[in-house]
């Protein structure tokens, strides 16, 4: 007896394995038809759909008699038929095996309810009308029915998964976005070809994405799924997003990366063209700005040749040198002005940067008896640290230079830094002579300068820098105070 059971269980295990391996219901049923259980022959198995239509799966039809019986008896559905015809109920664990006798030809119908699927009612296993079916055999049927149910369920889902997979795969293959599926540990589960191309991944193996993109950057992406995070890799520029996606088993994140190198290059070219056009428009001014120093240089060289007085010679030489330097400085400023500002946003504490700039200019201010007062609130903000430092340095040195020249007593510069919702404000004011209304309008124009030696590009460059960081700058001059007010808005990367 024991051996019999063992054999049967082994058999069941084998079938189970085959079911899992084959995952093709048709083949399973074919297999079932071909093989028989000792003492029991399985004629057919059918998966019965609920509702009123007895749709049978895989052309396996329920015995005509049973069907006839159902119709004649006017059973609305199989459920009723089962309930009305139960001859015997066998219990096995928490499941039931129904045994029916129906019609003239007795057929033993084993019905295994399918609890896994809503659409499907159960599995019918029809056997030969063999009455001395042992309990073991019943048990085996029970197991079998279960397996078939599971396989069927699996098969169905796999089909869906397969078609979804096929769709996914097609999409991934042709997508211009490099895609990677990551698990909860940020390991790569699956990628598309483009992704492997970008990061030069050859083998399809589980890889730690942190090897290619650093962790803080990834965490930034995870915490702000609506924004794109920029980064560089292999000399190219990318924008990445991470979205949460619970797909099969272990996939938790979807990493989407777009190559924006070309876009950035294009934008840069457009910007430069714009700037060039603007430069073209002010080319008259440029001619003026460059030709004047040239005239001075060439003229004084001519005079130098005819000059005998050493004092005068020295004077002329100095003028020539200064104008040459001035000219060179102008050309540098022009290039700076025309160049597209590269911005690298980082989290920083603006007050720290302002303090650093003040310290670096403190000695110069002290030498000219200029007091610098500051009221700086401490907070974090996302800025380009280098550019922000340039802006503060430029405005502050301008103020110091102006007060130095004017040489008044009680010269002072006030610096305010405060944060409001969504923006922060930096105000640098001096108590020197006011700027006339006419000049205030032109102060940020290129080549506008009130200094003897100025190029007039400093403030235009500052304005470009401020605007590149989503900021605005304006100047006010009233009540004995001239103020440069800069407002910076929060950008996408702010949390």
């Amino acid at each position: 007896m024991k051996n019999k059971i063992l054999t049967k269980i082994q058999y069941i295990n084998r079938i189970h394995r085959i079911f899992i391996e084959k995952t093709d219901i048709k083949r399973v049923f074919r297999f079932l038809e071909e093989k028989t259980f000792p003492n029991v022959g399985i004629k057919r198995a059918a998966i019965v759909q609920t509702e009123d239509n007895y749709k049978f799966y895989y052309k396996y039809r329920i015995n005509k008699n049973i069907l006839k019986d159902i119709r004649e008896q006017n059973y609305r559905n199989l459920n009723d038929w089962i309930n009305g015809n139960t001859a015997k109920i066998l219990h096995y664990g928490s499941k039931y095996l129904f045994v029916f006798e129906s019609g003239e030809n007795r057929e033993w119908v084993y019905f295994e309810p399918l609890h896994l699927k809503e659409d499907y009612f159960g599995i019918l296993i029809l056997t030969a009308d063999e009455k001395d079916i042992s309990q073991d055999d019943h048990f085996i049927f029970f197991l079998l029915a279960n397996h078939i149910a599971e396989i069927f369920y699996l098969d169905d889902n796999l089909k869906k998964a397969a078609s979804l997979n096929r769709l996914n795969r097609k999409f991934l293959k042709h997508s211009k976005t490099a895609t990677a599926f990551l698990d909860k540990n940020l390991h790569i589960v699956q990628t598309n070809i483009l992704f492997r191309k970008i990061f030069k991944i050859r083998k399809k193996s589980i890889l730690d994405i942190c090897k290619y993109i650093n962790r803080p950057l990834l965490e930034n992406m995870i915490s702000s799924p609506d924004s794109r995070v920029s980064f560089e890799f292999g000399g190219k520029n990318f924008e990445g997003r991470i979205v949460r996606a619970r797909m099969k088993d272990n996939i938790k994140y979807l990493l989407l990366i777009d190559d924006v190198t070309e876009v950035i290059a294009l934008k840069k070219r457009i910007w430069q063209n714009q700037k060039l056009r603007e430069l073209g428009e002010i080319s008259l001014r440029i001619a003026h700005e460059i030709r004047n120093p040239l005239q001075v240089i060439l003229g004084f060289i001519q005079l130098l040749n005819e000059q005998e007085d050493p004092e005068k010679q020295k004077e002329y030489s100095n003028i020539i040198m200064n104008e040459s330097r001035h000219l060179n400085g102008l050309i540098e400023d022009l290039l700076l002005y025309a160049k597209k500002v590269d911005i690298n946003f980082e989290e920083c504490i603006p007050s720290v940067i302002v303090e650093e700039v003040c310290n670096s200019l403190k000695e110069r201010a002290d030498n000219s008896n200029i007091t610098i007062n500051s009221d700086l609130k401490r907070f974090t903000f996302v800025l380009d640290i280098k550019r922000f430092r340039e802006i503060v340095t430029n405005i502050l040195s301008n103020a110091i230079e102006k007060l130095e020249e004017e040489g008044r007593k009680n010269s002072s510069i006030d610096i305010y830094l405060e944060k409001k919702t969504g923006i922060f404000i930096l105000n640098i004011s001096d108590n020197g002579s006011p700027i006339s209304g006419e000049n205030i309008e032109r102060i940020f124009n290129p080549f506008f300068t009130t200094k003897d030696n100025g190029h007039g590009l400093g403030l235009s460059i500052v304005k470009n820098l401020v605007e590149a960081m989503n900021g605005k700058i304006e100047v006010k001059s009233r009540n004995g105070k001239t103020s440069f007010i800069m407002k910076f808005e929060k950008n996408d990367l702010q949390k």
Partner: protein, 122 residues
Amino acid sequence: MDNMKKIMIIDDAGFIRVLFREALKREGYEVITCENTYTAYKMIKESEPDLLLLDINLPGGSGIDLLKQLRNEGNNISVIMITAVSIKDTVIEASKYGIKSYLTKPVDINILKERISEALEE
């Protein structure tokens, strides 16, 4: 000293004024300078120079506008334009108002001296 001619330089760039003053003083001219059109107009009336060395890009208004105004008032003072602007249209425009010469910076000092003496001989 009687025949010392007075030349007025109108240019906004400081060192240009210094250069021309140095160059012309050596030639024995009296030189006065001015840096914008506001003060130029007044200075011309008060000092009555014999010749103007006039730039175009000036604070307060274009040098050509100043020239136009002078001509409209019947002032026929000799004018040499010295400017960075070398556009043909501007040259033609300036010529309408009667100028002795139109020179583009950077101008050779010797040529400048020549043009000035030519202009003053007439």
